[in-house]
């Protein structure tokens, strides 16, 4: 244990004595999150919105009012048909159309299938996604308020029926680019890539460095168990990626106002599993190469196509079948999918069990392979 602790301390010394790398490790992730966040945020202001409201009732009015008074939205009037909105989109006069379903209020109160359709211009997918997401958020808030008001009389006489849950079915549709999903995908994606960079690339480089400078020779010729060497090498990067995760979450939550719809704990758990998988991948790479340069190149060769196949930039659904199959081996895909579900859709742990399982299986496979390849000798 003492051996291990002293080894971990040594690893931290290496990192702390190299302030430039440390700065990059800690600050780069923030820039990566802030930059696209900033760009998108500045674009998403002044959303010009029209409404198609066939039912004209109290609830639709309430929702329209809420959207219209919001700083981000500019009320552009009512339309009568969907075709009319398409025309407005084409002319570039509006950014978003809110289409209420028929008999909105009564359906909301009785059959719970009131629906709203959000139409956006899918040819600008990122902005469209943000616009839809904002509208969605406001509609959700409106729904909660409606629900609270509607539930109050029932609270006076709590019966067996309980509170009827209300559900507005918000559906978004991208015009002109129907495949594009609406999502605030960049945060989960960037977290996924950063973790891979730090855990996978940095760890593999750190392990290989010992081999390159010759210190591995002394370590191997010592009674230090190889497992200690490996674990001690992983520890600092585990810490750094955890710090990064936390700072990114604080940043998105408090400064960029990107909400965390699901449970924080669930997200954290998923991230830790993903970090484990990435660390194991880094370990595996380090067992296969002998130079830091090679470790870095292999990491990049895995990370870059990984970005394309992870669904961060291009939706997986629109990829050719072969690419879709291959994307399953990219850990980032599973992480991004899980974090989108948790952060944006707000689902509970059981709904991301497939992703978590996939990450664990991959992590264990990487671990076993590294175990097999890791040399207790030099060759």
């Amino acid at each position: 244990m003492k051996q291990f602790a002293s080894f971990v301390r040594k690893e931290f010394i290496h990192i702390l004595r190299d302030p430039r790398s440390l700065l990059i490790l800690l600050v780069l992730p923030l820039i990566m999150v802030l930059l696209p966040g900033y760009v998108i945020k500045s674009e998403v202001k002044d959303i010009r919105v029209v409404f198609l409201d066939p039912s004209h009732d109290i609830y639709t009015r309430q929702i329209i009012d809420r959207l219209s008074v919001n700083d981000y939205f500019i009320f552009k009037g009512y339309v009568q048909t969907e075709a009319e909105t398409t025309g407005l989109f084409r002319k570039g006069e509006i950014d978003l159309a809110v289409v209420f379903g028929p008999e909105f209020a009564s359906r909301l109160l009785h059959t719970q299938d009131a629906s709203i359709q959000l139409l956006a211009d899918g040819s600008e997918p990122n902005q469209a996604g943000m616009r839809v997401a904002y509208a969605q958020q406001i509609i959700m808030a409106a729904q909660k308020e409606i629900q609270r008001k509607a539930a109050t009389p029932q609270l006076i006489a709590p019966g067996k029926g309980g509170v009827t849950s209300m559900n507005i079915n918000v559906e978004s549709r991208m015009l002109f680019n129907p495949q594009q999903r609406s999502e605030m995908g960049f945060v989960p994606g960037i977290v996924g890539v950063i973790m891979l960079l730090i855990c996978c690339m940095m760890t593999s480089v750190a392990i290989v460095r010992e081999r390159e400078t010759g210190t591995m020779e002394i370590l191997l010729a010592s009674p230090l168990p190889t497992i200690d060497i490996v674990l001690a090498k992983l520890t600092p990067y585990l810490c750094i990626s955890f710090i990064n995760l936390m700072t990114i979450l604080c940043l998105t939550n408090f400064i960029m106002d990107i909400p965390m719809m699901g449970s924080f704990t669930t997200y954290l758990l998923t991230s830790m599993i993903y970090i484990f998988t990435s660390l194991m991948l880094g370990l595996l790479i380090s067992t296969c190469v002998n130079t830091q340069l090679a470790a870095m190149l292999i990491s990049l060769l895995l990370i870059v196509p990984g970005i394309y196949l992870s669904g961060m930039i291009f939706p997986i659904e629109s990829m050719p079948t072969a690419a879709q199959v291959i994307s399953n081996i990219v850990p980032t895909k599973w992480f991004i999918s899980a974090s989108r579900k948790i952060m944006i859709e707000g689902v509970a742990l059981q709904y991301v069990s497939l992703e978590i399982l996939a990450l664990i299986i991959e992590g264990v496979i990487f671990l076993l392979l590294s175990w097999k390849f890791f040399k207790t000798r030099l060759e």
Binding site: S6, I13, H14, R17, G214, T215, E217, I218, S222
Partner: protein, 305 residues
């Protein structure tokens, strides 16, 4: 019992294309300084790596401190000190941090075996807060030796500890090794490309291209030298070498510091005879004497065969 025992070790790289060791055998006794003397590419580092359990030999067997290098490598790793050929310490850590790190790696503390390294470490202690990367060559070498000694190993393996080091520091380093041997009866296996360091060892193996040319005490190797060796000097040293090589009866001639060493077939040539020949070719201040061969002469003589 031998501390190190090597039997018919062979090792090749690149799927057998490069034969690094072509079947070497030797024993090292307790309290002995054993030298592997040979140029780069002789196979010294490969041999060290096999003995320090870092690589596996293709065939043959070896044991260190009574343990087999293949099966009982973990026991060996507990009891050996190893200083690889390159300066392999953490450059970004201070002198003190390096030493205490290696002490913990070997499950010991600096205090526990301080007496072993005291003489060596004292010289670098004033710089204990300095990063290892900023030390001079001689000090790095002392730090590396301290780190290799900190756990009181039974055998010390030093791979070319004096390469690239100036003659004064080299002499000092050998002084430290002699003291370790004298005071602690430590067994040291050391390699060097500098032939003049051979006399510092109790026994040596002259190595070339994966084989031992000879293995014995330096004195015996010199005594076994079969040629007649002359040291020849004149006022035109450079031309003298060419002229010597052209003289019948001179088997070989090489520059050797301020004189040239020539091996002579005494049936064909006498000192007076050579003097006459050289005078005839215009050399002046000719000085020829019979010399005792050095290890380098022996190496060159064996190398030719």
């Amino acid at each position: 019992m031998s501390i190190v025992s090597v039997k018919e070790i062979r090792k090749s790289y690149n799927k057998g294309r490069t034969q690094a060791l072509k079947g070497v055998s030797f024993e090292v006794e307790p309290g002995e300084i054993f030298g592997l003397i040979g140029p780069d590419g002789a196979g010294k580092t490969t041999l060290f790596r096999i003995l320090t359990t870092l690589i596996l030999a293709d065939t043959g067997s070896a044991s260190v401190d009574g343990y087999d290098v293949v099966k009982e490598y973990k026991d060996i790793r507990r009891h050996i000190g190893y200083m690889p050929g390159r300066f392999a310490l953490y450059q970004d850590m201070t002198v003190e941090e390096n030493l205490s790190f290696f002490a913990t790696v070997f499950n010991t503390t600096i205090e526990e075996n301080y007496h072993l390294i005291e003489d060596i470490y004292e010289q670098i202690e004033p710089f204990k807060k300095r990063r290892a990367g900023k030390l001079s060559g001689g000090m790095k070498q002392k730090l590396a030796l301290s780190c290799a000694l900190i756990h009181a190993p039974h055998v010390l393996f030093l791979d070319e500890p004096t390469t690239g080091v100036d003659p004064v520091s080299r002499k000092e380093f050998w002084g430290m090794l002699q003291k370790l041997k004298r005071d602690y009866n430590l067994c040291i296996v050391v390699s060097t490309p500098y032939m003049d360091e051979a006399i510092q060892c109790d026994r040596i193996a002259l190595m070339q291209e994966g084989t031992f040319l000879s293995i014995d005490t330096p004195q015996n190797i010199i005594a076994d030298y079969s040629e007649t060796l002359w040291a020849v000097k004149s006022d035109k040293m450079h031309r003298l070498l060419t002229d010597l090589r052209l003289t019948p009866g001179v088997k070989s001639a090489f520059a050797f510091g301020e004189t040239h060493h020539a091996t002579i077939d005494t049936r064909q040539l006498s000192i007076d005879g050579l003097t006459a020949i050289l005078q005839e070719s215009g050399h002046k201040s000719i000085d020829i004497s019979i010399v005792e061969p050095s290890i380098e002469d022996c190496f060159m003589n064996l190398q030719k065969l």
